[in-house]
């Protein structure tokens, strides 16, 4: 028995060694292809070999996209913003509130003025909390932030690539006293910031603009330059970022809203899949910003926050802001535990009572269900259950009735206005696909005047780093790359070693000892 075991164990380890050699051989063949930056071959649950490939962005853009895919997308967006200013209504917009082009994905009509006002005032508030004195805004658009923030700054540089939008902005700025001298308006693409010296601003703002970048590589190039022109102690504020972990929920939400009552859930699923595949805007995971510290060492830390606001719209539900802290700063640091909300299911009143009774304690809670997304998640859970024998109308009613309760993020922010003496911070850094968030409440006096303390927030699972952004307009080229890679494997490997599938990813997660984390890769594929 003992001998048998030994033999069997020997056979197993020999099988494993052979398997490892096969995986290495597959990875080597894939890495030899010019479209591959990194590759890992992994055995899936059914013992099939799957390959995960980090594509070479240059190859996808320059070779498969013939060097035009990215720049074409940038030009198309510029044209769209130009066109938005040629409409009959654009000339009559009020100064600082030109919302032309801000259309709802749900109704395809303009987003209501009161919702836009709330959005802009909250965005302005969040930027002013960074205490900007010399600010460069990349993608200033029609100047909704310029008008409100420039009076607080000594220098404000407003950069945009759309000449028609800038012309309208210049006309409006001329009507405001002092603005012509205070604000420099510069026509330039986001990626061309070479005219600014290093460390010449304390704040760079990119608000509601990165979704119009062609890919994550372009965004990284822009952020490298943005961080470069910010002096240590300053910030890069990236606002109104569309969330990749919530892209599926967003697509489900919009398609269900637009579906006729009688549409089958099967057809609805197809529409959601097509919407995700055809998404023309850049949708980014918070994990992208967290990982950015590795490639831009001047970033000392990153905060990811859900947006403020009571309005129920696609910005408050599915978008976030990323604040990149540049260089060393002397901030109060907190490394507290975050008990899970599900352990005690606190209500807001429970939390308020606790704060009153413990005015000197800090409170961290993670995984608070997000009321904003309750209906969307209920509908998505029902759709994913695979039962196709319902209609969209029935699904909507089901979602209304079964939406999980939770706490509205704005209710936490509102605690700051009560006489509790606590400062409130929220985080979406954990990248959970249910949109749940984490909160940290700190007695205001323990902050000692620091606006943004360094909080050690709950981190995302390693699998969240596998896909960092979508690839708008690149579906065709990425499918072509997968086809090329399979053909390349067929030519260079024995049949039994050709991977069953090739999945394109943004990063290969690794274990503490540097091995590729296979389980995380497989989990990310299924997510």
């Amino acid at each position: 028995m003992c001998a048998l075991n030994k033999n069997s164990s020997h056979a197993n380890s020999s099988d494993e060694a052979q398997q490892a050699r096969r995986q290495t051989a597959i990875e080597n063949v894939l890495r030899a292809h010019p479209g591959v930056r990194e590759a890992a071959a992994v055995l899936d649950e059914s013992n099939h070999l799957e390959a995960f490939v980090v594509p070479d962005d240059g190859f996808v853009d320059d070779v498969l996209g013939r060097g035009t895919a990215g720049s074409t997308l940038v030009s198309k967006w510029r044209k769209i913003f130009d066109l938005s200013q040629f409409s009959r209504d654009a000339a009559s917009t009020s100064v600082g509130f030109n919302t032309m082009g801000w259309d709802s994905s749900y109704t395809r009509g303009a987003i209501a003025d009161d919702e836009m006002r709330e959005w802009v005032e909250n965005t302005v508030g969040d930027i002013l909390r960074l205490d900007p004195k010399s600010l460069c805004e990349i993608g200033c658009g029609t100047g909704m932030l310029v008008i409100r923030i420039a009076p607080h700054c000594d220098r404000y540089v407003a950069v945009d690539q759309s000449p028609a939008v800038l012309e309208r902005l210049r006309q409006q700025l001329r009507t405001v006293p002092d603005f012509a001298e205070r604000v420099e308006v510069v026509e330039s693409q986001a990626a061309n910031l070479d005219g600014f010296d290093e460390n010449s601003f304390d704040t760079v703002v990119l608000s509601s603009v990165v979704q119009f970048f062609p890919n994550a590589a372009y965004l990284t190039k822009v952020l490298e330059k943005a961080v470069g022109i910010v002096r240590p102690g300053g910030h890069v504020y990236v606002g109104d970022v569309r969330s990749l972990p919530l892209l599926q929920a967003f697509a489900s939400s919009v398609e269900l809203f637009q579906a006729a009552d009688e549409l089958s859930t099967g057809e609805l699923r197809d529409r959601i899949r097509r919407r995700v595949e055809r998404e023309p805007e850049l949708v980014i995971s918070p994990a992208y910003f967290l990982a950015l510290r590795r490639s831009i060492p001047k970033i000392s830390r990153v905060d990811i926050r859900p947006l403020r606001g009571r309005a129920d719209n696609e910005m408050t539900r599915f978008r976030y802001e990323a604040i990149l802290h540049v260089g060393h700063e002397d901030a109060a640091e907190f490394d507290d535990d975050f008990p899970d909300w599900a352990e005690r299911r606190w209500s807001l009143d429970d939390i308020r009572s606790f704060l009153r009774q413990h005015p000197n304690e800090r409170v961290g809670i993670k995984g608070i269900p997000n009321v904003r997304l309750g209906k969307d998640l209920a509908a998505m859970a029902f759709l994913n259950s695979g039962d196709a024998a319902y209609t969209a109308g029935e699904l909507r009613r089901h979602a209304e009735q079964s939406a999980e309760r939770g706490i509205h993020p704005q209710s936490f922010f509102d605690l700051e206005t009560e006489d509790l003496g606590f400062a409130v911070f929220l985080s979406w850094a954990a990248c959970r696909r249910d949109g749940s968030y984490d909160v940290f409440l700190i007695p205001r006096e323990s902050l000692r005047g620091v606006a943004l303390p360094a909080i050690h927030w709950p981190k995302p699972d390693a699998s969240e780093f596998v896909r960092l952004a979508n690839a708008p307009g690149q579906l065709r080229f990425r499918n072509e790359l997968v086809k090329q890679l399979l053909a390349h494997c067929s030519q260079n490997l024995p049949n039994e070693m050709v991977p069953a599938g090739i999945v394109l990813v943004d990063m290969l997660p690794r274990t503490a000892d540097g091995e590729v984390a296979a389980r995380e890769l497989l989990n990310a594929r299924l997510a």
């Binding site: 198309k76 967006w77 044209k79 769209i80 130009d82 066109l83 938005s84 040629f86 409409s87 009959r88 259309d103 395809r108 028609a164 637009q258 097509r274 055809r278 023309p280």
Partner: protein
């Protein structure tokens, strides 16, 4: 000068690029119905600029004016007359 048939063919090719091979009447909404996305509107605009010499900076732009084959054709006719 191109006419309605060319406009129809162009719109069909745009829809086909998005995987939409469904029936299409000349009066069907393209943008407000969601069959084409905002970013596809640029393709229509460039098509009209290049083939009909339309300058939207001069005549103004609203999505309604390019939302169907009928609307696009009417726009080309009105510009030709002016």
């Amino acid at each position: 000068m191109k006419g309605r048939a060319e406009i129809r063919e162009f719109v069909r090719s745009l829809l086909a690029n998005s995987g939409d091979e469904g029936a299409l009447a000349d009066s069907d909404s393209l943008l407000f119905s969601g069959r084409l996305q905002s970013i596809d509107a640029v393709e229509i605009v460039v098509f009209l600029e290049e083939n009909f010499g339309i300058d939207f900076a001069k005549i103004g732009f609203d999505k309604e004016r390019i939302d169907s084959i009928d609307a696009i054709y009417a726009l080309t006719q009105s510009v030709a007359k002016s």
